[in-house]
């Protein structure tokens, strides 16, 4: 028993969480007692004796679990445990439940954990649609409904879409650039372990007095500053998810900048690497804003600061400015890595170099720059300065240009290629082009102030975000998971089930989210448990399609689990791709490469006679450096 407590792991983690939580509780009680305050402050925005332990217990868990062991030993002058890489690799499923610094283990931990939250969030969506199938309230009451859609959105955004991309990239990005691991493996592991804590805080808020947070994922003040205790769970969950995200982004930036294999110039990087470089630039600069603004809300709630309390001199609108200064770039954080995945999948399965590679990379950078200048398009009716609307409209519309470049370049890539559609990844990639175009079109309409005035905060918005986030991001996630499944698990998935999942998801997505545009324009506001009877029939159809869409995800789940266990063994390179991760075995060896590969050409040189992307160990050096392809040349 004592040995178990001394050893990093779950038992020491639980002890750490309990000890830190108890310390926080005692601290609050003691400080209140000596200040002659009532011992328990149970105003709905108060509860310091819950909030302080909520901050400390996750940190106690992380410490107990072993996330800080190396640094703490070093700081305390103790002999550090040398990095013998004994923790690398996963020999059994149990190894995925340990603190592990191997980027490939962490990548799988990320993907599995985030999909766990995807299914929880999806169940909430099913409950939401059950309630909305008919006008009136049948399944849940209005307050629970508000908690459900808020938690659904927060789980999907903060612990599914954003981190699942980090997980996929964690696995494949170091392999793609020819690096043995990420630049900071211990930080990488810490980033991962903060994530389930964030998810648990979000879900755990259902246990709080007054119910889970119910102010939407946007948490607008002053609704959030006056909301019950559950809101504090949200404020804190965002801190852990945000810290995880920022640390991972820093890790990616340093890895991409410093750890590329010899010969891997920036202009030879696969577009997935470019996409994660762009995303990381967004994360490190934007995510601190949401962390800050949620701290401000927490301080308003617990410390009675008045950032957003107008009665105390605060400014209500400033919450929205700070929130959207993160949360607009966040939609690109949720999209750019997907763009990278689509580029890999389409080029490989069309057997063609990416059309306009450099413009594709520059378009990513263009989106990064523009995305910082459009946030107030979420606030056209919010009562902010009216002069700000037109400039924000123009920048918003202009962001369609780099996005259009990407769409047309993917289409251009297909031309004069040899398109293979046997892979589910390719099907999702092709469908993504169409659904994302629709999401982009409704986005341009929303960017226009007069149209936005009418449809903002209606179901048109719900339709738009689900078209770009489900039809967009989630389609790219599926494409990515199917594409790299053989690499990550060493086994092939079932293409037949993949096709069932693909067609079901495609039909379900359109059936669910297309009619939402119509009811929204016709006058149905968002975030309502009850609505006018005139929208009843459309909503019933939407709910039926949503249940169908939900059921199709079970096919995916079954396929992944069974194929991982029993699927046929995968070759190193089942898709005949060029990038480096496919030149090593599936799954790759523990240290990725016996010898770091040498990069001699672009990543997409399909059809170029004699062209090579990388020379792997043991191949000798007789392959000549290929001439850089001339971008923009055509005959």
């Amino acid at each position: 028993m004592v040995a178990a407590i001394k050893r990093p792991g779950w038992i020491r983690g639980a002890v750490g969480a309990l000890a830190a939580g108890a310390f926080g509780f005692a601290l609050v009680i003691a400080l209140r007692a000596i200040s002659d305050l009532p011992i328990y402050q149970t105003e709905q925005t108060g509860y310091p004796h819950v909030v302080v332990p909520l901050i400390l217990a996750p940190l106690g868990f992380l410490a107990g679990f072993g996330c800080f062991d190396y640094w703490l030993r070093w700081a305390a002058g103790m002999p550090t445990i040398p990095e013998d890489h004994s923790q690398h690799g996963a020999k059994s499923w149990k190894d995925y439940f340990r603190f592990n610094t191997d980027h490939k283990v962490i990548g799988i931990q990320y993907v599995v954990t985030t999909f766990f939250f995807f299914f929880i969030g999806g169940l909430m969506a099913m409950l939401i649609r059950a309630e909305l199938a008919q006008p009136g309230t049948q399944v849940v009451d209005a307050a629970t409904f508000n908690s459900l859609f808020s938690t659904h959105a927060v789980l999907m955004i903060f612990v599914f879409v954003i981190p699942v991309f980090a997980g996929l990239a964690n696995y494949v990005l170091p392999l793609m650039i020819g690096a043995p691991d990420m630049a900071f493996p211990r930080l990488n592991a810490l980033s991962f372990w903060m994530l389930p804590l964030a998810g648990l805080l979000f879900i755990g808020s259902f246990l709080a007095p007054g119910g889970a947070f119910d102010t939407g994922w946007t948490g607008y003040a002053p609704l959030s500053t006056g909301a019950p205790l559950g809101q504090s769970f949200f404020n804190l969950g965002v801190q852990f998810a945000g810290a995880s995200s920022i640390a991972t982004a820093l890790n990616f930036l340093v890895t991409i900048i410093t750890m590329r294999a010899p010969g891997m110039t920036f202009w030879r990087m696969p577009l997935l690497v470019w996409a994660n470089l762009s995303t990381s630039l967004l994360v490190v600069a934007a995510t601190p804003f949401i962390a800050g603004v949620q701290f401000m809300v927490l301080f308003d709630r617990v410390l009675s600061t008045n950032f957003f309390e107008f009665a105390g001199g605060g400014d209500v609108i400033s919450y929205q400015h700070i929130f959207w200064f993160y949360s607009h770039p966040a939609v690109y954080i949720m999209m750019l890595p997907g763009f990278g995945i689509i580029s890999e999948v389409i080029s490989t399965h069309a057997r063609k170099p990416i059309f306009g590679y450099r413009l594709m990379a520059l378009a990513l950078i263009g989106i990064v720059v523009l995305s910082y200048s459009v946030w107030a398009h979420h606030m056209f009716v919010a009562g902010m300065f009216s002069w700000l609307r037109v400039p924000m409209m123009i920048t918003t519309l202009l962001i369609a240009v780099p996005t259009g470049i990407k769409i047309f370049s993917w289409l251009g890539t297909l031309y004069f290629g040899k398109i293979h559609t046997y892979s589910t990844a390719m099907l999702f990639a092709l469908a993504f082009i169409v659904t994302f175009t629709i999401g982009g079109i409704s986005g341009v309409m929303l960017g226009m102030v007069p149209i936005d005035i009418h449809v903002s905060d209606t179901y048109f918005i719900v339709a738009h975000i689900h078209f770009v986030l489900f039809g967009g991001s989630v389609f790219t996630i599926f494409a990515g998971v199917y594409h790299w499944f053989p690499k990550m698990t060493g086994r092939m998935y079932d293409e037949k089930l993949g096709r069932v999942h693909f067609w079901g998801t495609l039909v379900g997505t359109w059936g669910t989210f297309i009619p939402m545009h119509w009811v929204g324009m016709d006058g149905m506001p968002r975030r309502v448990a009850d609505y006018a009877t005139q929208f009843g029939e459309w909503n019933l159809l939407i709910s039926v399609c949503a249940f169908f869409l939900g059921a199709c995800q079970l096919v995916f789940l079954y396929n992944m689990i069974v194929s991982w266990r029993f699927g046929p063994k995968a070759d190193a390179n089942p898709w005949r791709a060029n990038s480096i991760e496919w030149q090593v075995s599936s799954p790759p060896p523990i240290y990725n490469f016996d010898e770091i590969p040498r990069v001699v050409g672009g990543p997409y040189e399909f059809g170029v006679p004699g062209a090579r992307h990388a020379i792997m160990a043991g191949e000798g050096a007789e392959v000549p450096e290929s001439k850089p392809s001339v971008v923009g040349s055509s005959t």
């Binding site: 508000n146 102010t215 607008y220 002053p222 609704l223 107008f310 209500v316 609108i317 057997r351 170099p353 059309f355 306009g356 413009l359 009562g383 009216s386 037109v390 409209m393 519309l397 202009l398 369609a400 240009v401 259009g404 769409i407 289409l411 251009g412 297909l414 004069f416 040899k418 398109i419 293979h420 559609t421 092709l430 169409v434 079109i441 341009v444 309409m445 226009m448 102030v449 007069p450 005035i453 009418h454 903002s456 905060d457 324009m521 016709d522 006058g523 506001p525 968002r526 309502v528 609505y531 006018a532 040189e605 399909f606 059809g607 062209a611 392809s629 971008v631 040349s633 055509s634 005959t635």
Partner: protein, 263 residues
């Protein structure tokens, strides 16, 4: 290289598909009945956008399906495609043309925005007070006249709503008017609308404001000026809304007499 593609036929197919989609979608009254001078302008902007969007969508569909039809690999064909890395002219084209299209859309929207927010000479000013989960309306005159949960306005006269919120953010939306604006605690915001159809509508709160958000509605009656005056006269005896005491009267709108309808 691209001379090998049937560019003319592809463009023709794109245009044909655009026409079909537009012909189906433009006649539908997506936004529902319109009942303000802003409504037709916004609906027209939407129609123009539908046509442009139909073109973009058709272009993507035609490009995608032509490629899938023409360049799909034969079973067993393991060869690669042609090593084309790009085409500068095409890339410049699909950067510049969308830029021009969106800038046109931006300019057009800007014009519509100026039109619908243009202030008339003698607008009727109505104070709107929102609280969880009810609306009250104040009509400035010698004394404030108060109405709880029912908004009356004269037809064909511009109304400037001065919006106030008591507790959290609410949003003022009458779908038939196509106008929406948040009511923000600590601020006075303005929504300008000229109702042009007599009728009864619904005011909907569109900013999540708590568990009663979905039911935070108010009846809106647009009526001829004479009937409207009668209704306001009848209000004088009503007790003021309780929230009035705690919200400062808006000096900007007070006092503006309830004049005869029209400017």
């Amino acid at each position: 290289m691209y001379g090998r593609l049937p560019i003319v036929k592809m463009l023709a197919a794109t245009v044909a598909l655009t026409v079909v989609i537009s012909a189906v979608m433009v006649p539908i009254n997506w936004n529902g009945q319109g009942a303000s001078t802003a409504a037709p302008k916004i609906d027209e902007l939407l129609s123009v956008m539908i046509v442009i969007s139909a073109f973009v969508f058709s272009l993507v569909i035609v490009m995608l399906f032509y490629a899938l039809w023409k360049f799909k690999a034969k079973p067993g064909d393991e060869s690669d495609g042609e090593p084309i890395h790009g085409n500068t002219r095409l890339e410049v084209a699909w950067t510049l043309i969308p830029t021009i299209i969106v800038l046109f859309g931006g300019g057009y929207s800007w014009k519509v925005l100026n039109d619908i927010e243009e202030t008339a000479k003698n607008p009727l000013r109505v104070s709107v007070f929102a609280q969880q989960f009810a609306w009250s309306f104040g009509y400035p005159g010698k004394d404030y006249a108060w109405s709880e949960g029912e908004l009356h306005v004269p037809v064909d006269r511009q109304v400037q709503f001065k919006l106030h919120a008591q507790d959290v953010i609410h949003s003022f939306w009458v779908p038939e008017w196509r106008i929406k604006k948040d009511a923000v605690p600590g601020l006075t915001t303005t929504a300008t609308v000229t109702p042009d159809k007599v009728g009864t509508y619904q005011l909907i709160c569109t900013e999540l404001c708590g568990f009663g958000h979905a039911t935070m509605r108010a009846k809106v009656v647009v009526e001829p000026p004479s009937k409207f005056r009668e209704w306001v006269e009848g209000l004088k005896d009503k007790t003021p809304a309780p929230l009035m005491e705690s919200v400062e009267q808006d000096t900007e709108t007070d006092p503006v007499p309830v004049g005869p309808g029209g400017a």
